[in-house]
Symmetry: C2
Subunit: 274 residues, 2 copies
């Protein structure tokens, strides 16, 4: 079991920021990555759909005998992690809890959260942070245009600056001291966000927090790989492998050698939208 | 059969501009509208996925015994209409052919096309226009950020102006005389597009052209309704009826009284992504 891969899924390509963070602390672990590019984005979908998609993604990864499942997508983490833990035996780690822990550990009393509509509507970060520190004030704001701007590659574009200024104004006004980047795409807008918020505001990237959490969990559960050489990784998507390879370079700063088309399990009740 | 409804599907909410155009020329016809909001957007997906989704949407509509299927989504029209005509007996009308006819009928020799990545990559408008007028020069450009900007309701926002200026620059430079709005969302950006392109450029909205085509087809096939009172319409979505109702108002300028959740047929080979 120890030398089995870690499974990771995301709504698409943004999870590569989480993959990257994970591999930087656990280079010897192998990763099987699934991007659900046929149904992306998740951030504008309902909790019921996000949960169903997440269940199908997890079933796919379990077909490879993975030892742990990482939910890289914030929208899935916010809505489906609890459900996945109830329905599967494999340990499931989402990005919300580690991100909330990192944010709660920061000094100051005012924390901002930005994310997709689904993540912000869930209130999952607020809940997780308040469980750790009750007295903290939290301001959250959905930023639905950030994902398409990143996917268009406009990381340093005047239009992106204007959009950022509009979304972030209430957070600056609230004088937050820490800002949680509650979506896998947002770390790519770090410099534009810092420029507007000022460098005194600490940015929390859940990906780094999750990577540390996974490393700790593997050690605690005695599931770390015994390999000392670099792990081998596989990439699957439910649509458009070529686009994933191309846009993936924005996220990884390197080419992805091979991306395969995934066949999701068409399971009973879950094959039908209900 | 004559008093059966017209079926119409779209990737989500944008098709309401087509619905609106259709109802304005055929108020007495009943319409069953399906928005595939669980899998939207189609414009960034592959031809294979768009075709599969379109087949499932059509099967759903046929369950209501519709007399004709309107493909309101440009990305579906570009990739799936031919396939749907081969696989179903019901008449299938997409937006590309009527839009191309309207554009080809305009004076001038330079036509611009804007649409999603999928529509522009298909070359469907170019092909359809060139079949009618070989000598016309065509310049096309994908505008992937227009859809999320419209869905955010930023129809008159400085960021939308900046994005439009960037996307439309090559078309202005090419001195096009006619511009096809090759996506159901774009008519809502008409004033920003006109502002940048100048009022001398004629904007072609495929929705109006499709509505005229459907009216003509119903007459030719002797399938017009015998009702003289207003038709009754039903709205279905595959996810998030509340959001469809809310954002739908941007498109219709009125409330949508009721939106139901659709159960798509989970059919044999098509239930599995392959």
């Amino acid at each position: 079991m120890n030398n089995s891969a870690i499974g990771m899924f995301d709504s698409g390509i943004g999870g590569l920021t989480v993959y990257r963070a994970l591999k930087s602390v656990l280079p010897e672990e192998s990763v099987i990555y699934l991007g659900d590019t046929a149904r992306l984005p998740y951030g504008s979908k309902s909790a019921a759909s996000i949960t169903r998609f997440s269940e199908e993604n997890t079933s796919f990864l379990l077909g490879f005998g993975v030892k742990l499942v990482v939910v890289a997508c914030n929208s899935s983490s916010a809505h489906a992690v609890h459900y996945l833990r109830q329905h599967f035996k494999v340990p499931v780690v989402g990005v919300i809890e580690p991100g909330a822990m990192a944010a709660a550990a920061m000094p100051g009393k005012r924390i901002g959260i930005i994310g997709t509509n689904a993540t912000v509507a869930s209130g999952a970060y607020e809940k997780a942070i308040h469980e750790l520190r009750r007295e903290v004030e939290i301001v959250s704001h959905a930023c639905p245009l950030f994902v398409p701007l990143v996917e268009e590659g406009w990381l340093d574009h005047p239009a992106t600056r204007l959009v950022a200024a509009e979304y972030l104004a209430p957070l600056r006004q609230a004088q937050i001291e820490t800002l949680v980047l509650g979506c896998t795409h947002y770390p790519l807008l770090r410099s534009i966000i810092e420029e507007y918020m000022g460098t005194a505001v600490r940015l929390v990237d859940s990906a780094a927090a999750l990577a540390a959490e996974v490393k700790r969990l593997l050690a605690v559960m005695n599931l770390s790989t015994s390999e000392s050489t670099a792990g081998s990784d596989s990439f699957f998507v439910t649509d458009f492998p070529e686009r994933f390879q191309r846009v993936g370079e924005i996220f990884l700063d390197r080419k992805i050698p091979e991306v395969s088309l995934a066949q999701l399990p068409a399971g009973g009740k879950n094959a039908v939208i209900s």
